[in-house]
Symmetry: C2
Subunit: 345 residues, 2 copies
Amino acid sequence: MNIHEKRLHDLQCLLKKEKLDAIVLSRPLEQVFFTGFRMDGMVMLVSRSSAWAFMPKMLLDQFKSKVSFFSAAAPESLLEAVILKMRDGKFKKTIFEPETETYLRGRFWRKKGLSEFRGLTAGLRLVKEGEEISILRQSCRIAAKAFGIIKPRIKTGRTEVSVSRELEDIMQAMGARGPSFSLIVGFGPDSALPHHDTSARPLGANEAVLLDFGCVYNGYCSDITRTYFHGKPDKEFKKIYSIVEAAQKAGVKKVRAGVKAAEVDKACRDYISDAGFGQYFIHGTGHGVGLEIHEAPTLNTKSRDTLRAGMAVTVEPGIYLPGKFGVRIEDSVLVKKGGCEILTK
Amino acid sequence: MNIHEKRLHDLQCLLKKEKLDAIVLSRPLEQVFFTGFRMDGMVMLVSRSSAWAFMPKMLLDQFKSKVSFFSAAAPESLLEAVILKMRDGKFKKTIFEPETETYLRGRFWRKKGLSEFRGLTAGLRLVKEGEEISILRQSCRIAAKAFGIIKPRIKTGRTEVSVSRELEDIMQAMGARGPSFSLIVGFGPDSALPHHDTSARPLGANEAVLLDFGCVYNGYCSDITRTYFHGKPDKEFKKIYSIVEAAQKAGVKKVRAGVKAAEVDKACRDYISDAGFGQYFIHGTGHGVGLEIHEAPTLNTKSRDTLRAGMAVTVEPGIYLPGKFGVRIEDSVLVKKGGCEILTK
């Protein structure tokens, strides 16, 4: 049984546990998770004991050659095929996930008697296991190594966008498929914008450099941020950097199974607030990483999530001084029983 | 007035014309279209005379510095801020677009009295104009030029994935931000799978090579497919190639404002069917390209769309012989009054 078959089996067990008969999966993301097959335009139906995939004709041969544990067909109407199969199987309680389905299709499912049910597949993706962990670890290692390679190449006069492109190249050369998001490279005051749009700005002789990047490796996303000063840092940069560094360490130290995600946020936030810079830490502390660059759980003040062994999350506090510079330090970590493993190292 | 302001103005005119008071925009794609600002996590409300953007605190400074024609705020709850603003403005008929909104959020809007309305913003994106066209043209030129550069470098033994990566590099060096989709490189029998997942397969001495690729340049997607034979083509390849080539030309020749999209499909399909290979042309003839790699209109047998001047569409018939090879030829073209302009040249 490969990892995808195992996940399908887990989903089927969950259906039984929740007293559900079947679930429709419309989104490529969930389809990849359960089949290993990347493709737009499929609709899937999973019951407690069977699984079907309906797709355009042109995908059929390719799908069949790769995925044996779903029955595949290319009917005239994919949606009607799901409904017919539901009726054939006498599935009374079939669900869709309202947080990912479009309103238009969700309305169709409702009309056909399906119910809403939130977070079933997201719950399965929450805890990473087996080869997933080693893939994620490798994805993070590639990113961490790339920083070591790019740093000495970032010289005065280089543009943000040229550094971003070279980072992508370096990670691809190590086996990554591509970047895991639109990489953020910010020089000088650009580093003070947490979601800066990487520009053609050249690096000045004495400026902050912020790199927020990651790659997709075998489908899994990594996320890392490194900040440093190009040239001779002044007192202010050194001070802010040491505060963020200590806050990030405090956050990472807090991460272990059983701890509330909000407590990790609090550890970082308290440290920065106590140092007098609370108002300049203007975002949450972190988020889950996996098939998506941002997924559950959420690490911020309002989070109700509790960390569980096998979750992969980022810890990324920052201080942003508008018009001057920003410092953010981020690692992706794997939650364990007594603590955590830093993946981006 | 820049292009984004103009689009906002067009949207506001459309609200008046459709007798609507306001529209909520939840998706980054529409937000980029109307603001030029790329960012997740915003919600926008546009009325006939005003426009608001609600976002997390960390985006606020950045947004304000770039977009002056939306009122920006970072309220506690983005969704509630929309509702409050609706009440303040006494907007009776406020809509959301059910084809892009998630079911969960759509249900929230419904509960709050908003109505569904399909295709309002997609309609605005359908016809390209002004600098949009020159950007799209440049995006397509980069892709077409990249083929000329990569072709002589594709030698026996090179893997599909290495060619895919080099194509990305070549396009990035010409100013592209990245690939416009997961590029398809298929050698030999892999070329017979229309949506082949580019693999580590090395190129044999005498094999078909299919490259389906494109880039994102200034936000706009290009799409092109080229097929050729590496080595000495046999009679069968030559025959199939010449059929697809003639079918594609017949399709392109059909493209002009006022023609039904289904007629373009028919032109390609009839040619291939008449040659005896209809059963091996297993997909539609084309689709719109723009901010999305697949957007309206649709060019297939069932399409009810009519081509209009300024639409940008692909024409991409193919013949796929399972286990042997496939040939697909694709150009992105701009619909004009009396015909079309081939963009991928």
